[in-house]
């Protein structure tokens, strides 16, 4: 039996739970529903984004984190106990953060790069943070959108590096091309010009030979320029690496001396090689090819820019090996000192252009010196000659027989490399001195009297010190000393004599001897007496 009305009974006497009698604006109701929907959507969006979103109250306390923020900051417990300061790396300036925070509270929204720190973890993560003030359920809050910049930072740095490198190589390439075109033009002009002249039918044999010579020398010049350019290009692209091997230094220098003695003969410029006085060959570890090239470059330059006088090269031993090439040439004005070693830079001056060259010799030399672990320097002034000197580390070949066992200190130049001339007529006396000195690696030369001493000195200016006996045949010590002081005023001369009279000693010192030791010779006293002079001279 149908009684459809029955279902209504409860509702009629009910309180009307499903509806409100009060009218609202439908627009308002629409807005309420829109808000509810957008709130749900907002939560979905917040949790879907791969950025961390953190909502802080004005004091920085966390009010809300999206899922990504929980993961990123490692927060799985009650987040309300953390503040924005807990989320920042300790290396960040918290005063700065405070200032930024105050700014954002005054509606100055900001986007900045920052270092974040996950809670309880000991590392920092580069991030980009956008901070904005807004209203969240009636409360003023700051919304932080945090983007992990680790990967981006990495790429950015790589990009910066790559760009820098590209820019460098680009400018190098440009300079290389500019230099190439400039430098090869001169010899090429000569080659092209003179080969054209060779076609001249009325050419004399003499002229033709002359032209051929010019073409040949220009060709050689061109070749050397190209070699230099290739070499500096290789240096710039890190394709040149040193090959360290044992090198017999004195032999190497002698060989170079031989090479340049030819130039010396042709130009009339005197060439001198100065090596420290040593009884043995110095066997060191370095790159022989590069060292040779450095010295050849410097010597080539010296010959190029020296018209008269002499060129001196050699080395000294200090805590490092110190090589030098010194000329009496035109010199280099101080204002150019800072550019002479620069790549693709040449002092625009007539002589350098006339003398040709790629202008890369010094750049290559500098690169090589640095590759070998040293530095190159210039001492020069206009019309006062130049002295290029460079250092490389002093590494004794461990396999070296002659020097092994000598204490590191003994390798110091003043105790073992000096050349000492002993003027002594008595064989036993000389033998004793010679034994002591040689044992301490001094080079010893003997003169049997004062006259012989003068002869030896005139033929060997590398002598660093003279030990002069007083009582000798032919020419005694006083006479010989007086002549030496006239000829070589800076050469230290120490008297050694068996005279022990106070009167004798006074006379020796009055004469101007640099020192005095009494016979029989005491080893310690001898070494102590000579050391200051050798040190001072070098």
């Amino acid at each position: 039996m149908g009684q459809g009305w029955k279902k209504y009974r409860e509702k009629i006497i009910g309180l009307g739970e499903n509806s409100s009698h009060k009218s609202y604006y439908p627009e308002l109701q629409d807005k309420i529903e829109e808000l509810e929907t957008s709130k749900k959507n907002l939560q979905t969006i917040l949790d879907s984004t791969s950025d961390s979103i953190v909502i802080h109250d004005v004091d920085g306390k966390i009010l809300l984190l999206n899922n990504q923020a929980k993961l990123f900051y490692n927060i799985y417990d009650d987040f309300s106990k953390y503040t924005v300061f807990d989320l920042s790396s300790k290396s960040q300036d918290l005063d700065q953060l405070y200032q930024i925070w105050e700014g954002v509270l005054q509606s100055k929204g900001r986007t900045l790069e920052w270092l974040a720190r996950p809670i309880g973890l000991d590392y920092e993560i580069p991030v980009q943070v956008s901070l904005n003030r807004c209203n969240w359920y009636g409360e003023t809050v700051i919304v932080a959108v945090v983007r992990d910049f680790s990967e981006r930072k990495k790429y950015e740095n790589e990009l910066i590096r790559a760009r820098k490198k590209a820019e460098e190589s680009d400018s190098l390439k440009s300079a290389f091309l500019a230099n190439l075109s400039h430098e090869i033009r001169t010899p090429m002009n000569a080659i092209v010009g003179f080969s054209t002249l060779l076609k001249d039918e009325g050419l004399t044999a003499e002229k033709r030979d002359n032209y051929v010579d010019i073409i040949q020398s220009s060709s050689n010049h061109l070749l050397s320029i190209i070699n230099d350019i290739i070499e500096i290009s290789k240096i710039d692209t890190n394709q040149v690496v040193p090959h360290f091997k044992p090198v017999k230094l004195n032999a190497l220098l002698s060989e170079i001396f031989q090479i340049f003695s030819m130039s010396s003969g042709e130009t009339g410029i005197k060439l001198e090689l100065c090596k420290p006085a040593m009884t043995s060959e110095l066997d060191i570890i370095t790159d022989e090819v590069k060292l040779r090239q450095i010295l050849i470059n410097l010597l080539t330059n010296a010959f190029k820019f020296t018209e008269k006088g002499k060129i001196e090269f050699g080395y000294e031993i200090r805590d490092k090996l110190r090589f030098y090439v010194k000329d009496t040439g035109i010199g280099i004005s101080e204002k150019y000192h800072h550019v002479v070693f620069e790549r693709f830079r040449q002092i625009e001056n007539d002589i350098s252009i006339n003398k040709g060259g790629s202008g890369l010799g010094l750049a290559i030399s500098k690169a090589y010196v640095e590759m070998l672990g040293g530095k190159i320097h210039l001492e020069s002034a206009e019309n006062a000659g130049s002295k290029f000197w460079f250092t490389i580390p002093l590494k004794i070949n461990p396999a070296s027989k002659d020097i092994s066992g000598i204490p590191e200190e003994a390798l110091k130049f003043e105790q073992k490399k000096a050349k000492i001339l002993v003027a002594e007529d008595e064989d036993t006396n000389f033998f004793l001195l010679s034994e002591i000195l040689r044992k301490h690696d001094y080079e010893v030369l003997r003169a049997s009297n004062g006259k012989v001493a003068l002869d030896i000195l005139s033929g060997n200016q590398n002598i660093d010190l003279v030990l002069m006996d007083i009582k000798m045949p032919v020419m005694d010590g006083f006479k010989s000393f007086n002549l030496i002081k006239k000829l070589y005023p800076k050469l230290p001369v120490i008297a050694q004599t068996a005279y022990t009279l106070a009167e004798e000693e006074d006379r020796i010192l009055t004469a101007g001897f640099n020192g005095y030791i009494a016979k029989p010779v005491n080893k310690e006293k001898l070494l102590k007496a000579i050391a200051p002079f050798l040190k001072r001279n070098n």
């Binding site: 009305w5 006497i13 109701q29």
Partner: protein, 389 residues
């Protein structure tokens, strides 16, 4: 009557009433209330008959004075149809209104409620049939009732005619209570006698059914009984002196009381059967009620002897054994119809046995049955229809 008085029901009962302004020229408050409720553009719902009265013009000029735009919708027939509701909602949206002002009788106000429901809740008005099915409040609704009977201006009811299925849908919800009702007896003066009679009988019916409703409360009883007394004393007088504001005012007040009573206590079989009947034959609601009421009282009497006895006392039953309260009430109602010049019976209106089957079929599902003092079966309704032929 001692038993009822001694036992005081404390079951939960809500009492819901809109804000209303009762009195002469209350209608002039319409524009200012629209403004107070945030009205930007008013959707004025009325009907063709009222367009001929001065009430519409008065309201329009009031709105113009308040500089409130409006759109007039008057395609409302008696027993308003779902299609009129949907068309109204369409026009409301199209003209971008945000408040509804209903000027009219039950049909106009119910149609306005229907439009409001659809505006806020979307969908079809048919979806909201039944009790407490409206989730979203409708736009602000201001009512000016022009009849003294339907009381749609204070009730939780909206009755819409489902033409397709041939019955009137009852929509009962707090959501359809207007925001403000401007109850002005002056506007009753344009009613003709038949309309006065029918709507008056509707009000009486509301009071009777609310009073005997099994969902009635002390508060609704108060209003119901007072409404019956006022109608008994004043309704017939309106026919003799239609322009008398005093009697019109009392009948208007009676209608308001009856409305407050039935809105909260609900109704009974008279309305269930009238909804079906009026829907099927498109008859005036008050006329249907007037015809059915005596027979339903007869049917219900034994289930609510005390309540009916109170009513009988209120309208002059001597209370002696010469005539029972049932007989007194039946005769009173039949005589009142005649005095109100309502002479129809269902038979005269074209109802047949066959039609009764259909009417009962629909009527039995009406929510109004739920509060009838005697729980009806379909057969009971058929019998009542037969009795009213």
């Amino acid at each position: 009557m001692t038993a009822e008085i001694d036992f005081f029901h404390l079951d939960l009962r809500k009492f819901l009433a809109p804000e209303f302004v009762f009195g002469e020229n209350a209608r002039f408050q319409a524009a200012s209330y629209c403004k107070k409720l945030g009205g930007r553009k008013v959707f004025l719902v009325t009907d063709a008959g009222l367009l001929k009265t001065r009430w519409v013009n008065e309201i329009e000029s009031g709105l113009n004075d308040q500089k409130i735009e409006f759109d007039v919708y008057s395609k409302v027939s008696p027993n308003p149809r779902e299609s009129e509701v949907m068309a109204g909602a369409e026009e409301y949206r199209r003209s971008n209104c945000n408040i509804i002002l209903a000027l009219g009788g039950g049909s106009v106000i119910d149609c306005a409620k229907g439009i409001g429901i659809v505006i806020s809740n979307h969908g079809d008005i048919k979806q909201f049939e039944g009790v407490d099915n409206i989730a979203r409040p409708m736009p602000p609704l201001v009512c000016i009732p022009t009849t003294s009977g339907a009381s749609a201006d204070v009730s939780q009811f909206a009755i819409i005619n489902n033409k397709e299925k041939g019955y009137k849908m009852a929509i009962i919800s707090k959501a359809v209570v207007p925001d403000i009702s401007l109850i002005d007896p002056v506007v009753l003066t344009t009613m003709d006698d038949f309309l006065t009679s029918c709507t008056g009988m509707d009000a009486l019916c509301h009071a009777f059914e609310a009073y005997v409703s099994n969902a009635s409360s002390s508060v609704t009883d108060l209003f119901a009984l007072k409404a019956i007394k006022l109608l008994n004393e004043n309704l017939v007088l309106c026919l003799n002196d239609p322009l008398n504001i005093q009697t019109r005012g009392k009948v208007m007040l009676a209608s308001l009381y009856a409305g407050l009573a039935f809105s909260n206590a609900s109704l009974g079989c008279v309305h269930a059967m009238a909804h079906s009947l009026g829907g099927y034959l498109d008859l005036p609601h008050g006329e249907c009620n007037a015809i059915l009421l005596p027979h339903v009282v007869n049917y219900n009497f034994d289930a609510a002897i005390e309540k009916y006895s109170h009513i009988a006392h209120e309208i002059g039953w001597p209370g002696n054994s010469q005539i029972s309260a049932r007989e007194f009430l039946f005769e009173y109602l039949q005589n009142l119809k005649k005095e109100l010049r309502i002479f129809s019976t269902l038979g005269k209106l074209g109802v047949t046995d066959e039609i009764i089957l259909h009417l009962a079929e629909k009527a039995i599902d009406d929510p109004c049955n739920a509060t009838n003092p005697r729980p009806p079966e379909k057969k009971d309704l058929e019998d009542i229809y037969h009795a009213a032929l």
